[in-house]
Subunit: 148 residues, 2 copies
Amino acid sequence: MEMEKTKSAGYLANHMARLFASGLQARIKPLGLAPAQFMTLLELWNRDGLTQKELVVLLDVEQATMANTIRRMERDGLIERKAHPKDGRAQSIFLTEKARQVEADAVIAAKTQNAEALEGLAHAERTQFLDLMSRVITNMRDRASEKS
Amino acid sequence: MEMEKTKSAGYLANHMARLFASGLQARIKPLGLAPAQFMTLLELWNRDGLTQKELVVLLDVEQATMANTIRRMERDGLIERKAHPKDGRAQSIFLTEKARQVEADAVIAAKTQNAEALEGLAHAERTQFLDLMSRVITNMRDRASEKS
DNA sequence: TATATATACATAGCGAGCTATCTAAAAGGA
DNA sequence: TCCTTTTAGATAGCTCGCTATGTATATATA
């Protein structure tokens, strides 16, 4: 039973994601951001005052993962937590001035990384690439949630 | 400057790779394997007695990453290290009987995971998906090596 | 040959993902 | 109202990436 890794979608997905992450990391490190922090900031730049739970749903990571990411972001002065007005268990997460200031540069960095990765792909290929990834994600997400 | 994460190749690549990894993990955990161990075993099932350095090149991970993966594989009784006959710095890595015994089941698990992920894609779409990922990987790899 | 450089591997320390488990508050039901 | 269940979050402990650095052996050069 042969298994050629260069023809395995899973192997390629892992390899590709690592290259995206390290490329993005190099670009945003000067801004004081790490990749998961950037992804979280994307949601917060869009709308402030979310709870940890809301971020978990938006980014589709486990609660424990988000708890740690948020802790590092607080440590790094990117966010502040305030008591939730209605729910004593929850906290609302707000951006600091520092986080607001890096938005433009960080978004440019991410767009540049994406552009570099997709270099040499025709417009239609790019569209299809995003579509195929979305469909594959949907396949696996649905299958995963079925089991719970 | 808007940034829609569902249209960002990097975001999708990360999400997809996490789903592949957790799907594979669930399937091979009963065999006593973790995902990175499986990827390493794919090379060793193909050819035994490789050095750590050779595995680093084949899997395109950092040397320190491979050193840790190998240590866990040794701990778990999947490999044994023997002194390299020609080079006093290096070690040759050999499979244990245990590692050989799980090959067939592990390969089936990985193929099943890939098949599930690609469900609903036409044959031509699957081919193109692998091709697009390969080209994107090449883009980023070349760019990364340029800088060193 | 003696020294300098390059290479193979180990280790420390961090980010980011995961599962499992705990606490405290909220919500629901008897 | 009281008790049970659910939910929000924290924490411990693991894998697997990474960078940076140290050590010992090989190799190359003066």
